[in-house]
């Protein structure tokens, strides 16, 4: 879903992110008018990520459609999760519990009102991530820009972070993988989770696969952006909508916020 001809673009100022209004390439063609567009920082990042930004998502559960799974499919495709294959002897039900899931759909019913809510759940990119606190090797870490990821060169596969994460956001790779994507190396024995499409971040794209997909479906339930930039659409949205963190009681100051739960 990348722009085939992006390579032809001349490098632009890397520090200042430019909004390009025009739809470029196949993927962008599907973007409905009026929706946030690709941010293209044409060259890969050469300097260290900075804490001037903090990436995050806002999810408006009111817009999330029952039965829709576009974001999930997109994430799977983007990160090669759809390439996972069930080891033959394994039963379906066990496989369901063992395969990697970065983003999942949850359907809730309020015990009192009976109201039904749909929402996607992924790593919440906590500001004080318990997963990072517990990781013995420092493989789980938070990048300066707020993205919580696993350095899989350091991860020993102890799964303590999975014990610690309150959102069940992480998956352990139980089986050998084949045919990984060049952009998303993944492999047996390590723990992984939503990385806010980190390579898109480093190549200066302006959105995540899930947000793109949701927008493409016309739901626009997921908005990606810089939480620290008061001008950014995501910040605007946060001001406009009453949102909350899931399990606020833990005070993790998550980077993913939900409206309508």
């Amino acid at each position: 879903m990348k722009d085939e001809n992006r390579a032809n673009l001349e490098p632009v100022d890397r520090e200042r992110r430019t909004f390009i209004g025009a739809a470029v390439g196949v993927g962008a063609a599907m973007v409905a008018p009026g929706v946030i567009l690709h941010v293209v920082e044409a060259a890969p990042r050469a300097a260290s990520v900075s804490s001037d930004v903090r990436w995050g998502l806002v999810i408006d559960t009111a817009k999330c459609a029952d039965g829709c799974s576009a974001c999930i499919d997109a994430c799977d495709r983007e990160n090669g999760l759809d390439l996972q294959t069930k080891p033959k002897p394994l039963s379906e039900s066990k496989w369901d519990q063992q395969k990697a899931v970065w983003i999942r759909k949850v359907k809730l019913q309020d015990n009192q009102t009976g109201r039904i809510t749909n929402l996607p759940m992924m790593c919440q990119h906590c500001e004080d991530p318990p997963c990072v606190d517990v990781c013995p090797t420092g493989a789980s870490f938070k990048r300066a820009d707020g993205i919580v990821i696993v350095d899989r060169h350091l991860c020993i596969g102890c799964r303590y972070c999975m014990m610690a994460c309150p959102y069940k956001a992480r998956s352990f790779i139980h089986e050998e993988l084949k045919g990984q994507l060049t952009s998303v190396p993944r492999g047996k024995g390590c723990v992984e989770s939503c990385d806010l499409c980190v390579d898109r971040r480093d190549y200066g794209e302006d959105s995540t696969a899930c947000a793109d997909a949701c927008a493409a479906e016309g739901h626009n339930a997921i908005v990606f952006g810089d939480l620290k930039d008061p001008e950014s659409p995501i910040s605007q949205l946060l001001k406009a909508l009453p949102t909350r963190q899931i399990r606020e009681d833990l005070e993790l100051n998550t980077g993913v916020r939900y409206a309508g739960v």
Binding site: K94, Q97, R104, V106, Y160, M162, A164, C190
Partner: protein, 416 residues
């Protein structure tokens, strides 16, 4: 006071090598299943993304805290100056190291990327209790080895008590640290309880002593050494106190959970609706691991009988395993409270739809891995007592030191 004489475990070579052979075979099988798990990946285990720690961790945690508890005997002897326990100090130290090695090996071989162990040794994250535990474990091993040296080598004599005190505190820290691996998991209802640390300490006493007792009795019986009624009574009373203490702490733990409104869901699940976990709790932990042994130990006749005491110790161990099973696995299986006040109708990731617990069923390789770890511990112990003078020659009543006496330098008269 008579000098305590220690002697290598001198059972006939054929029998010794036979025992080693059996243990080595179990270790071999454990190694094979390790190879299998690593080669195939963890999908061959029962573990999954909801229950991420399974049977190996039950074994490992049990062994680690039993290791810490096993050292108790040595501590009582040197730190609390109860001379009657002194002859047991060396075995206690050896067992502590051996069980710890066994437990850690299980943890290591269960890692997703065991070949990167070096990473865990070279790069630390100091906010992780796990990383601290790595220090606690290696430190424990170093200290206990030093402690053993002070017990076994004459030159070490003067350091015996200081090192013993250090070992005692280190040990408490270690058990607390192990408990805290779970205790600090704020996310999980079952774990976020401060009492978990102290509870682990008391559990460790009971488990460590039970393992110690069994090993001691086996070693002694096999070579025809004597365990006198006096020391047997002391040991079994001690065990009874620890078992009672464990029961008490478990009671407190579940009571506080019940009263903490946030956790009562979990409690009612575990105590009533949790299926296998409820069963393991009531039958395994409480009945087999607590009430039955207490009954035996306080029984006026059976409490005096070596075999019954051994049976009680064995029951405590069985109970200990089910306690660990409930604590480690039950608490993971119980769904995490993501959306209070809401019921999860559907989820792409088994978030406990309708409050259902996650499923976990241990697989054979996990079991074999765990048994392999146990065998490693026993192998180290067996070789240790065979080649080093760790077992007292006798624990008969007339040989063991009188308890009430404080330790004095053994008077050594030279003949005229």
């Amino acid at each position: 006071m008579k000098r305590i004489v220690y002697r290598e475990w001198r059972i006939p070579p054929a029998r010794f090598w036979g025992i080693l052979g059996i243990l080595a075979a179990v270790i071999g099988i454990g190694t094979l299943s390790f190879g299998y798990m690593e080669h195939q990946g963890h999908w061959v285990t029962g573990m999954n993304n909801a229950v991420v720690w399974g049977l190996p961790h039950v074994f490992a945690v049990f062994l680690v805290i039993a290791a810490s508890g096993a050292l108790n005997i040595a501590s009582i002897g040197t730190v609390f100056r109860k001379p009657i326990y002194k002859p047991l100090g060396r075995l206690s130290g050896l067992l502590a190291v051996a069980l710890l090695v066994g437990g850690l090996l299980i943890l290591v071989t269960d890692l997703g990327r065991p070949e990167r162990l070096i990473v865990a040794i070279t790069s630390y994250n100091f906010s992780s209790i796990f990383a601290w535990n790595i220090f606690l474990y290696t430190g424990f091993m170093a200290i206990v080895i030093a402690y053993l040296w002070t017990m076994a080598d004459r030159q070490g004599g003067p350091f015996n008590r200081p090192v013993g005190i250090l070992a005692l505190f280190w040990r408490l820290a270690l058990t607390t640290g192990t408990g805290s691996i779970f205790g600090f998991l704020v996310a999980r209802e079952a774990y976020s309880a401060a009492i978990l640390g102290p509870m682990f300490v008391v559990l460790s006493f009971a488990y460590g002593l039970s393992v110690f007792l069994l090993v001691l009795m086996f070693a002694f019986a096999d070579e025809g050494r004597v365990i006198g009624p006096k020391i047997l009574r002391r040991l079994k009373n001690l065990l009874a106190i620890f078992v009672a203490g464990s029961l008490y702490f478990m009671l407190i733990y579940h009571l506080t959970n019940l009263y903490a409104a946030k956790h009562d869901d979990f409690e009612s699940w575990l105590l009533l609706r949790g299926g296998i976990y409820t069963f393991a709790f009531w039958v395994g932990s409480i009945l087999i691991g607590g009430l039955l042994p207490l009954g035996i130990l306080y029984h006026p006749e059976k409490g005096k009988n070596c075999n019954w005491v051994a049976a009680a110790a064995a029951l405590v161990i069985v109970g200990g395993f089910s306690t660990m099973y409930v604590v480690i696995i039950g608490s993971q299986a119980y769904p995490m409270p993501l959306f209070p006040g809401q019921t999860i109708l559907e989820s792409g990731f088994g978030d406990g739809v309708g409050g259902r617990a996650a499923s976990y069923w241990p697989s054979i390789p996990e079991l074999l891995l765990g048994l392999g770890g146990v065998a490693v511990g026993l192998l180290i112990t067996a070789v240790g007592v065979r080649v080093l003078q760790f077992l007292p020659e006798s624990l008969a009543d007339d040989v063991v030191p009188v308890d009430e006496e404080t330790l004095g330098e053994a008077a050594f008269a030279k003949p005229a």
